[in-house]
Symmetry: C2
Subunit: 276 residues, 2 copies
Amino acid sequence: MERIEHRAASGGWQDVYRHTSQVLGCDMNVAVYLPPQAATQKLPVLYWLSGLTCNEQNFITKAGAQRYAAEHGVILVAPDTSPRGDDVADAEGYDLGKGAGFYLNATEQPWAAHYRMYDYVVEELPALIDAHFQTTGARSISGHSMGGHGALVIALKNPGRYKSVSAFSPIVAPTRVPWGQKAFTAYLGEDRARWAAWDASELVASATERLPLLVDQGGGDEFLDNQLQPQWLQAACTAAAHPLTLRLQPGYDHSYYFISSFIGEHIAHHAKALYA
Amino acid sequence: MERIEHRAASGGWQDVYRHTSQVLGCDMNVAVYLPPQAATQKLPVLYWLSGLTCNEQNFITKAGAQRYAAEHGVILVAPDTSPRGDDVADAEGYDLGKGAGFYLNATEQPWAAHYRMYDYVVEELPALIDAHFQTTGARSISGHSMGGHGALVIALKNPGRYKSVSAFSPIVAPTRVPWGQKAFTAYLGEDRARWAAWDASELVASATERLPLLVDQGGGDEFLDNQLQPQWLQAACTAAAHPLTLRLQPGYDHSYYFISSFIGEHIAHHAKALYA
């Protein structure tokens, strides 16, 4: 882990590290916010997964999350959204390839060699974070849009691993919407039977842990009707009696103005679970 | 005033307007944050002046100021940092020309035709804001770096016009540092006698209002020793017995991470004066 950025923020340090990922087969940047309490004690970690076109910078520069992490004593870890580098396959368009890893393990060519963001976020990155920083081992996970999909799927597939999960404007049913169908066709192949394992609205039916889902969705989101469709998650949770708090926030769009308006409530929600 | 952006944020609206400036002779963008209270009552206005290379976007996307403006009931107005457009003179380098208006009225060619940011910020923009929004008429002013210079100079040159003034990492003595000397030579000419009217550390000596100056300066700021040199302002305020609160914040650099860490305190400071 090479520290490439180090900036004082809200009494702590907003750092960015670069490391070689064995899982992804490339160098990766990851943002780590260390609140002031990190200087003297072990802290829990909130993982943040960003959306399409983002890298490790968007969340740390636009969400205004540091002041809440400092208030609650939570480390924030925000990785990039895909493998990177000249050796990594890419596609035209913003919704496939670099910047669009979809937090899954690809099985199809040319993606399978590097596109293993699921294993990276679930296994390699937490091991790296816990080895390099003083952590309690308690973890929660959140994200936005494609990253909201990632947070929900990762929490549902790993009972017991996260203390809490939340999402902003998540893709809740990728098998049913254009963004997900394009990505899953490329990364997982044409056989739709293999897609369900990466769809939060499908995974809810067989979830054993019943970790409550907190989802905020902007009512003025330009992708609401076409790509996000939170009603699929609501229906699945109702059918499975899975706990869900789905809040439709009137007027808010898909941007970081929405995230910055509610990130304080999300961090408070995670801190309560992480310190329980 | 044409509204070109309209985004829900912290219970209010982060808007961007485009208008034709008579003073600058070009079209200008200006960001306006309307907190939730703006829907039902007249509010005071805090003007924010950004630094070199910025436009109207930097402050509204990175400072995290909206939540504090919503808390205190203050409208935020953040203009661009220079005239813009194909007809406007420019120079190579980030510190002269477009993005580097220095909040003064240029007298030299080729700048004098459009570079009148002082008149724009002091006269034309407030008149426009007060005509288009429900304001109480109470105004304060703040800014960062070149914009901190602008806020201090504008407040000092206009006794009675602002309820309060503050600055982050301001250029306090432009006549003594490279950024200011380059800009003033170009915009104002070689005669240094004319520069003092645009230098906060010079203006303090003749200030009649004695409006307290609040200045935050990062101790890890990469421009501290070469360009910022807050000791000149401190010495001038001491000599003139002008009220100054200069806070050196250890570790903080020149970035928006510094601004976002302390903008809440600055907005609380201004709100207290604006509602007094």
